[in-house]
Amino acid sequence: MTHAAFLVIAALAVASALGLVLRRNAIHGALFLVVNLGSVAALYLTLGAEFLAAVQVIVYAGAIMVLFVFAIMVLIPGKEETGLDPRRGWRLLALPVGALLALQLLLVVRAGVGPVAPAAAVPGGVEAVARLLFTRYLLPFELTSVLLLAAMVGVLLLARRRV
């Protein structure tokens, strides 16, 4: 049962990732990416990471993708990838190279993850995450707020109209 669920969600994730790469229209690509992020959130649920599944839906599929769709709308897409590709041969070379990369990564996974029995108790859930976040990882957590503030100031500086 869990295997079947995993296979269905994994197939959905791979298909939507391929849709993002293969579809010419950028807005279709954004919607495919939303599907992909949602299926990865479902996989987080099957791994017992409920907090991350919620954050994935809210932050990634919500906030970040809205920003992407907004940028696509502003920038009038669809005109830059029509017409003849001057470097078509080089770009098509990426397909065998990417397949080779996937093969290598899969071989590494096969070689590296042996049939070790997993640890018995898995402290998942919000409580374990919160406990770690506010004790051992408190300093990085606070530094994250500085990073977000710096990003906000940088975006304001970049996006202002030059007079």
């Binding site: 990471a49 502003v74 990085p140």
Partner: protein, 100 residues
Amino acid sequence: MVAESWYVALSAVLFSIGVVGVVVRRNPLVMFMSIELMLNAANLAFVAFGRRAGNADGQIAVFFVMAVAAAEVAVGLAIIVTVFRLRRRLSVDDLSLMRW
């Protein structure tokens, strides 16, 4: 319970698709979305390894990756919008120089 190696294998496949997407596409927005795909694949591997290790440290790493990704998307999209405003075109082949 599905073994962690399946999750890591799926993560490898998604990461490779993201790499191909960055290379084959000409629209910087789609390239950017492919980068998000790669980050997401790495996150999946983090969570899977965290469950294998039996602690929640992997989930903490994913949390920080998400925060950095949010900042990165904001700055990157601002850069793309600025470049588009200056060039009126949006193909990465036109952007071979880092100055104008």
